[in-house]
Amino acid sequence: MNQPFNDDQLRAAYQPTRQRGPDCPSPEALLAAARGEGPEAERIRVLNHALSCEGCRPELALLSSVSEPARSSVSFTDRLRQRAIPIALAATVLLAVGVASLVRKDESGTVRGGGSDVVLAAPADGSASATKS
């Protein structure tokens, strides 16, 4: 029975297979990718190369480790965006419902169920029934 690789086995087995060559990105390009700067397609190209290249991989590790500070602010912004939008939507709906019910109360003094033509009547034998008017 051939079990597939787990994450740890794949991590241990993954090694760069490229050697340093003329197509290696410059240190500046590696830094830009590490910082998340520049067009996405370029960042993907640079990272795909760097992580499979024996020469570039430790350089990317060095540059990404010493250019870390953007992390907390990006995560915070992400978290804020992810949490604030649903909360703002829920608050808007609640506010709209609240305002609508206040307006209706002001109009009639009581809150009614609307324009239904069904009337509940109590029959003589005491059992509940509904009669159409």
Partner: protein, 182 residues
């Protein structure tokens, strides 16, 4: 008069040691080599002395100043090395993978063959899944992936999950499994 430079020296050593520990904790899992980090820190020390001579208060320097200084030192180091034609310091102890110091040529050949098969399976993935998987396998977590690729964390997790599934399926189809590589 000798106490002022001593105190300054201690302050610089303490600031650099604290920063080094922080960078190392982040970089270790990505394959950051101690030799590279030491060279950068040596340069940072010199730059801090120069900053002091230019009138900066070393003890009061914020972490962003340290990151900027270290980034500039790291860039200079890599440029110098490339200009000299020497790629990097060889740090044999820090090589991950299946090649261990005690491994013989047979084990090394198996590890190299497996690495090549993983690489060819990776090249069949879509570019965005492929880069997410490469980063994961190189020690970057999904937050790093999201930050460096400017993706939401949800997108990074999704592409990574699907990419890993894809990679496992392709390796299985190729008959590559832990048992088959023994």
């Amino acid at each position: 008069m000798a106490s002022a430079p001593d105190a300054l020296s201690e302050t610089i050593v303490a600031v650099v040691a604290r920063f080094r520990a922080m960078v190392r904790s982040v970089g270790a899992r990505r394959g950051l080599q101690d030799g590279d980090l030491d060279e950068v820190m040596q340069d940072v020390r010199i730059r801090l002395w120069q900053a002091h001579e230019a009138g900066k208060d070393i003890a009061g320097l914020g972490s962003s100043y340290m990151y900027q200084t270290a980034t500039s030192a790291a860039l200079d180091l890599l440029r110098r090395r490339r200009a000299k034609g020497g790629d990097r310091s060889e740090d044999v102890q820090e090589h991950g993978g299946l090649e261990t110091p005690g491994a013989g040529p047979h084990e090394a050949a198996i590890a190299s063959d497996l690495a090549r098969r993983i690489e060819s399976a990776l090249q069949e993935l879509s570019e965005d899944r492929c880069v997410a998987v490469r980063m994961h396998l190189s020690g970057y977590d999904h937050k790093d992936i999201a930050r460096m690729l400017k993706w939401t964390e949800a997108r990074a997790r999704n592409l990574l999950y699907r990419g890993m599934e894809d990679l496992r399926r392709r390796l299985t189809l190729l008959g590559v499994s832990p048992g088959a590589m023994q």
